[in-house]
């Protein structure tokens, strides 16, 4: 396998795509939204429970490619315990890492495994679908977002 491919499909990504964490519906979520990528037909639902101003639980459902599944899975791990404002900040850093040149993936922790996706412009939307959906859920912007 070429080194390029291992940059994209890092071990953590392949692991989370095969064994996604926090997959399934939450009991009584306070926020939720659905996301859709019309290019590939992938759909994801993100559910969030916010208690005392902090995200205490996250869950996702849907079927997608390895990148989008791993992205949703890692999102649910990364944002637990954060405030909605902190989650938005993480969204912005994650988005910048995937779309801008020469940015260090600093303080993104495990999410830095997605830095290789930037070299695959056709796949950026796979990695950001769950994040756009999460933002819509937190902002209460209705039920469905699209990557287009």
């Amino acid at each position: 396998m070429t080194s390029d491919l291992s940059d994209l499909y890092q071990e953590t990504i392949v692991d989370h795509s095969k064994r996604p964490r926090n997959k399934g519906a939450l009991e009584r979520p306070t926020h939720h939204a659905e996301g859709y990528n019309p290019l590939c037909g992938d759909r994801v639902t993100i559910e969030v429970k916010i208690e005392d101003g902090h995200i205490t639980r996250l869950g996702f459902e849907g079927a997608g490619c390895a990148i989008s599944t791993a992205s949703a899975s890692l999102l649910t791990e990364a944002l637990r315990g954060k405030t909605p404002a902190e989650a938005e900040q993480t969204f912005n850093k994650f988005h910048d890492m995937l779309t801008q040149d020469g940015l260090p993936a600093s303080d993104l922790g495990k999410l830095a495994v997605f830095s290789g996706v930037r070299q695959y412009p056709m796949r950026v939307k796979c990695a950001t679908l769950a994040w756009h959906t999460l933002r819509a859920a937190l902002r209460g912007e209705g039920k469905s977002v699209s990557t287009e």
Binding site: T2, G41, R43, A66
Partner: protein
């Protein structure tokens, strides 16, 4: 020599694929450092040098507007367009060049029929009949028309092999049916419809048939008179010609009864502020300056295909498809979607546990271009309860060695996600 080895060398059918490949400069490209294996021909085909040269020649030597001026360049450009129209007529065996309308592509051709013939003839409570394997471009224009007219869009479902059962098609035709729209060949599954029989059934019910021929004309000889098709649409870019040019064939009687599609120059005979008199066929449907370069390129593409011969192309592709189908069905945990007995040039497949987009990216790294996604045919995907497939689609310049590369690529995908 074994049949496999013969096919690899392109000698099984006396078809010199190595020589043909030399005509396509892009096939010498390397992708991610690997030789390009182009298996996305149902999306768009590659262009032979003759087509590329024809565009350069037009812009270098006789670029001018058509039907406008008395000067020499305009005459040459006009003549080139007329020559292509005659080549297209002969290519699909239309009765007259009046029946060949130049459009942007299959999509525009289908919209033209919907917005003219459709709006003129469909009324509230009427039905437009389509099939479950249509491309979005042969669904949405009819849906828009039906919404406008409070008419009903009726769909004949496909079976598990991706075939339209003829008895269900016949049963769906009724006294409210005003129009049938069908693909000749399915872009997502490769199914070849028994079009002559279906048109006969529709005509017996008194219903005209619009055919989406985009995936048929590059692969098999098409005779619109033998089919008795009322309208037949196709795109130049899938036929080894340039993008932006396509053809609508229509029976003269129908075209004459239709109102114009767009208003503008070229489609008029005389204009005053009170009244416009429309031009004769085919110009009535060709408002504005046409895509002259595209028309020139389409003519060159048809000449190129005629030199090889569509019968020889069809025979070679048939063997290549059989070879590919056999090789892919022998792979473990790989399932072919679309198993009609009569297919052309398309293999859609699923690899267990791997999403088509991941398949597409990993194949791309090996220089192999395939399409992944819903192929603009979401209802087909819904029918098989999948979101997407990986699709390899063939042209006559593909080889058995390229199929072997695809098979090796699929194995790599499986290793990677094992």
């Amino acid at each position: 020599m074994s049949a496999h080895a013969q096919l690899l060398r392109g000698t099984a059918t006396g078809f010199d694929v190595d020589r043909i490949r030399e005509d396509f400069p892009i096939l010498r490209e390397r992708v991610h450092g690997k030789p390009l294996v182009y298996l996305d021909n149902a999306a768009t085909s590659q262009k032979p040098q003759a087509v590329i040269d024809s565009l350069v020649d037009y812009y270098s030597h006789y670029n001018a507007n058509v039907h406008r001026a008395v000067h020499l360049l305009s005459a040459r450009a006009t003549e080139a367009c007329d020559r292509t129209r005659e080549r297209v007529r002969a290519f699909v065996n239309a009765a007259s060049t009046d029946e060949i309308i130049f459009v942007r592509g299959t999509t525009e051709a289908l919209n033209l029929v919907a917005q003219t013939h459709g709006r003129q003839n469909i009324r509230s409570g009427d039905e437009v009949l389509i099939s479950g394997l249509e491309h979005h471009s042969n669904i949405v224009p009819w849906q828009m028309l039906c919404n406008e007219k409070q008419a009903h869009l009726r769909v004949v479902p496909i079976d598990d092999n991706g075939v339209i059962p003829l008895d269900r098609f016949e049963k769906a035709l009724n006294e409210r049916t005003r129009l049938v729209a069908l693909a000749h060949v399915s872009n997502a599954l490769g199914t070849v419809n028994p079009l002559a029989k279906m048109i006969e059934l529709a005509h017996r019910a008194g219903v005209p048939v619009v055919v989406d021929g985009a995936q048929a004309v590059p692969h098999m000889p098409v005779d619109v008179q033998a089919l008795d098709a009322d309208f037949y649409a196709f795109s130049g870019h899938k036929l080894f010609g340039p993008t932006g040019i396509g053809v609508l064939y229509g029976k003269k009687k129908l075209l004459e009864a239709m109102p114009p599609f767009q208003g503008g120059g070229d489609m008029i005979r005389s204009v005053t502020f009170e009244k416009t008199e429309y031009n004769v066929l085919p110009y009535k449907f060709e408002a504005g300056t046409p895509d002259v370069a595209g028309i020139v390129g389409l003519g060159a593409a048809i000449d190129y295909i005629n030199d090889i011969g569509l019968s020889a192309i069809s025979e070679y592709e048939h063997e290549l498809l059989a070879y590919a189908t056999e090789a892919i069905s022998q792979l473990e945990a790989v399932r072919i979607v679309g198993t009609a007995p009569d297919k052309a040039s398309v293999i859609s497949f699923m690899i267990d546990g791997v999403h088509p987009h991941d398949v597409g990216t990993i194949l791309d790294q090996q220089g192999i271009a395939v399409r992944t996604g819903h192929h603009c045919a979401q209802p087909v995907m819904d029918r098989f309860r999948i979101a997407a497939t990986t699709r390899a689609s063939l042209a006559f310049y593909n080889t058995a060695a390229e199929i072997d590369a695809l098979v090796a690529g699929i194995r790599k995908v499986q290793e990677f996600f094992a």
